[in-house]
């Protein structure tokens, strides 16, 4: 299908949709009703890209569904109207609104693989939706399905049309959903967190594709998201929702420049602070010549596969150092081995080979019992705060445990230490008997942090400590971590896929791909002038919440081809692990194993072209 065919004349009315005062309520047994969405109003112009942002439970998804006239039972639409081309969707009979859904209004949801029927071929599912709205034969619908798959950027659409949902990756399944949603050329596309759970490079591929497609069809988009980066890079306008109501509605540029509402300012806190004086006083100074606190040398972890000779190469010869008081960022996409590397460091997972030095002590040579005695100095904070706290333990019990295990304090001293810890991490002393589930995720994470610092550690592995949190709490936790590091001199290994927070808190950054370290450098080196092609693509794909350099405005949107191969012995590329996806590859890369080499400016890069000066290091376009 060519571009000309897809373009439709602009709608006669200058609004695609207008919702007025939509209110959705959920009845709750023996309690007053919950108003999930309160007087929600929105006006959508053709071709407009609107973001709806807010924390989980603020009603943004419910509002998006209400725009389709749908509410998940037992909720109901209490009042309001949703005008689509002058007709109120909420008052139409079900068959009429059914005809609009999927034809004039397309929908994309999160969990793409669960949103496709598991037993029908994806091509059939696209064709069925197309046939539900267009008078075509089965064959025509099938051909259209293949054309749609090609349009959303799926290679070999004839073959993929015959696949089932479980045979697709999430990124691919999400493209199928967009093919379904756009199959009848809708005037409006509603996307409910379409990229949650996708990796950054895949997310960028997908959003670029969606952006291209709706630009071709001049459809308007309502994008529900929690991600400031997506809003900044793709949206024209943004609605901020808080506790069921729209609290701010603004053009993206003015929103990022001068947010009005208190809540907007809270979620933009990190971005707004970055250049301010406050940040400089917060940042910890590290002596780059000091002896490393932790030194990792050729760390390797292979997981055996049952009934098979081959292995999963989770970590493949990783080496890096961390100095006292330093925060080292470990970044990479899922499957890059960053979490396994962090766990191997503390021997929560036993490394297959390689050495880990803590000061002069080789941790990997210690017996389990000897190592256990060192654990008070080496701690970890996990991603999901609720999962990592015992659900039946109060704050007091959680904090007492490490003191009981690792200290010889008297009961009196322990109580004093606990008070001190709670004050350090900012938990109200009144919450000492609270259970994890009675606290917010941010508070839970504070308890986890307090528990980790209870024994005065030198070093903490932070395994995605903020990825389960809202933007607002993320900002708070990051500030807390920096304060603790400054006051107590703790070094961190900060594992995260969120480059925005890494950029804020870390001194140096390690980039991992397929279990290998591909680049190690200072924050400025890696973020401003990434050298390795993978680091470049990662940085370029990451959506920094910066409206001055929007991804959609860039001439070249650098990204990687395809998806990460699975790290199984025989599937790993022979030479450079990036071969096949790399935009700068040469024949030599195919067979030549790459080594981590130190280049002129002191950083280490695993790419012969960079090491030999064959690939110039430029200022990144990312931000």
């Amino acid at each position: 299908m060519s571009v000309q065919e897809i373009v439709r004349p602009a709608a006669a009315s200058n609004l695609v949709m207008e919702a007025r005062n939509v209110t959705v309520r959920f009845p709750i047994e023996d309690a007053p009703e919950v108003t999930a969405v309160n007087n929600f109003s929105i006006q959508i112009k053709p071709g407009e890209f609107i973001g709806i942002m807010g924390e989980p439970g603020c009603g943004k998804s419910v509002a998006a569904q209400a725009l389709l006239g749908l509410v998940r039972p037992p909720g109901y639409l209490a009042s309001g109207e949703v005008l689509f081309q002058g007709h109120d969707l909420l008052k139409m009979d079900p068959e009429e609104s059914r005809k609009l859904r999927g034809k004039d209004i397309g929908m994309i949801v999160q969990n793409p693989r669960y949103s496709l029927h598991p037993m029908y071929r994806v091509g059939q599912q696209i064709a069925k939706v197309y046939r539900a709205h267009n008078p075509v034969t089965k064959q025509e619908a099938w051909d259209h399905a293949i054309a749609m798959l090609r349009m959303v950027g799926i290679n070999d659409p004839e073959r993929r049309a015959n696949a089932y949902a479980h045979e697709l990756s999430s990124g691919m399944a999400q493209r199928v959903l967009i093919a379904i949603a756009l199959s009848s050329k809708p005037k409006l596309l509603i996307a409910d967190e379409p990229t949650s759970g996708l990796d950054v490079t895949i997310q960028a591929q997908f959003l670029d594709q969606m952006w291209e497609n709706v630009r071709q069809t001049n459809a308007a988009v309502v994008l529900v998201t929690q991600d400031l980066g997506i809003v900044a890079n793709y949206c024209d306008r943004v609605l901020i929702m808080h506790k069921g109501s729209v609290v701010e509605q603004a053009d993206v540029h003015s929103f990022f420049r001068s947010p009005n509402h208190e809540y907007s300012r809270a979620i933009l806190a990190l971005q707004r602070e970055e250049t301010s004086e406050e940040r400089n006083t917060r940042e910890v100074k590290v002596d780059s010549t000091s002896k490393p606190l932790i030194k990792v040398d050729k760390l390797t972890k292979l997981f055996p596969i049952r009934r098979s000779e081959s292995k999963v190469h989770a970590v493949d010869g990783a080496s890096f150092e961390i100095r006292p008081g330093e925060c080292l960022g470990l970044v990479g996409e899922s499957g890059s081995g960053k979490t396994t590397a962090g766990r191997c460091l503390l021997r929560l997972v036993e490394p297959t080979s390689g050495d880990i030095f803590y000061r002069d002590l080789n941790l990997s040579k210690l017996t389990r019992d000897e190592f256990r005695k060192k654990r008070d100095k080496l701690q970890i904070v996990f991603q999901d705060p609720l999962d990592s706290l015992n659900p039946r333990w109060t704050v007091e019990q959680c904090l007492m445990e490490p003191l009981n295990l690792h200290s010889t304090m008297t009961a009196e001293q322990k109580r004093a230490r606990m008070q001190e810890l709670m004050q350090l991490v900012g938990i109200d002393p009144g919450q000492i008997h609270a259970l994890p589930k009675e606290m917010s995720a941010g508070r839970q994470q504070r308890v986890s942090i307090a528990r980790a610092i209870a024994t005065n550690p030198d070093f903490i592995v932070l395994d995605e400590p903020t990825s389960a949190l809202t933007p607002e709490t993320t900002a708070e936790i990051i500030r807390l971590l920096m304060d603790l590091s400054r006051k107590l001199g703790i070094a961190y290994l900060f594992i995260s896929h969120d480059l925005t927070t890494v950029k804020y808190i870390c001194h140096r950054v390690v980039v991992m791909y397929l279990g290998q370290v591909v680049e190690v450098g200072t924050k400025d080196q890696v973020f401003n002038t990434p050298a390795h092609p993978y680091a470049k693509a990662l940085l370029s794909s990451h959506l920094f919440p910066n409206v001055e350099n929007r991804r959609v405005d860039r001439a070249v949107r650098e990204t990687l081809q395809g998806e990460i191969p699975s790290p199984i012995t025989e599937r790993l590329p022979k030479g450079c692990y990036l071969y096949g996806r790399c935009p700068s590859q040469k024949d030599r890369c195919k067979a030549e194993k790459q080594e981590l080499k130190t280049i002129g400016d002191g950083r280490q890069v695993r790419c012969w072209r960079v090491a030999e000066g064959d690939l110039p290091i430029e200022v990144a376009v990312g931000h």
Partner: protein, 348 residues
Amino acid sequence: MLLRFVTRRLAVAIIQLIGISLFVFFMIRILPADPVARLVGLNATKEAYDLAAHNLGLDQPWGQQLLNYLGIYSNRPGDGVLQGDLGDSWVTSAPILEELVRFLPITLEFITYALLIAFLIAVPMAMAAATKPGKTADRVTFVWGLFAGAQPEFWWGLMFVFFFFFQFHEWGFPSAPAPLGRLNPMVSEPHTITGFILIDSLLAGNFRAFLDGAHHLMLPVFTLVFVVSGAIIKMLRQNMIRVLQSDYILYARSAGLPSRQVGFYAMRAAMAPAMTLVGIFYGFLLGGAVPIELIYSLGGIGEYSIRSILAFDYPAIQGTVLIIAMVSLLIYLVIDILHAAIDPRVTF
């Protein structure tokens, strides 16, 4: 892929069958029963008793008995299981294989029809019940499930005979035939090919036998349908409700698929687990449809196995267990293949 799966499953089935045979062989000999005394009577002389025991081969040690049964290093005339001979019944002296070939299809026939019909009834009923929970259709299926499933099948059989045969006859309505076997004695029985009376009569072109056979099958089949459909409907309805709340059904709705199409989407996903239930019923009913066989005097394999057990007819018990296990395993295999055909996520 399929071929490899079937071969592997059949290989496993053979091992299972060997295990089951050995287990049954020794278990019935451990039981505190004296089949010889049962045959010759309690007042028999020692000589007569010993002679009978010798004739049955029960005077041999167990190991030799097993060899005789299997047909390797046998010290008695006649073949063993490995040569395809299950031995002769101690009660009727007829070859057991012959008897099983006669009785097994009777049971297979009526439970096959019953399960097929039950499934065909259950699908639309469960669909109607699940799409509008709490509404009329849902209530009807609920009551049906409780009412039909809660009472034993012999009771329903009795009721059916009383009403459809006796009362209808009294009232002068067209009634069901007397519950006395598979065919009216006046109708000539078709030559046995499959053992399924409806199929054999059609193959023989004997239309009279077909109609009469169907007439006689009617009540036993419907009794069984009545009893098992409750459970199948309940399971389908439960699956349907779960599926209807799934993300993909919600998405199908938001993509504007017509409700009929959404119904098909849900049904297909709900059906696979219910088919497993039908398979389990099948295996269970092979030996467990005795009450219905007895009430309608059909003389199926369930009835035969009960008779053999009461008579301590060792070879008959061993043969019946072996054959029922074999058929059950085959049916499970077929169900698994069908399951995989419906659900592409199931891999061999």
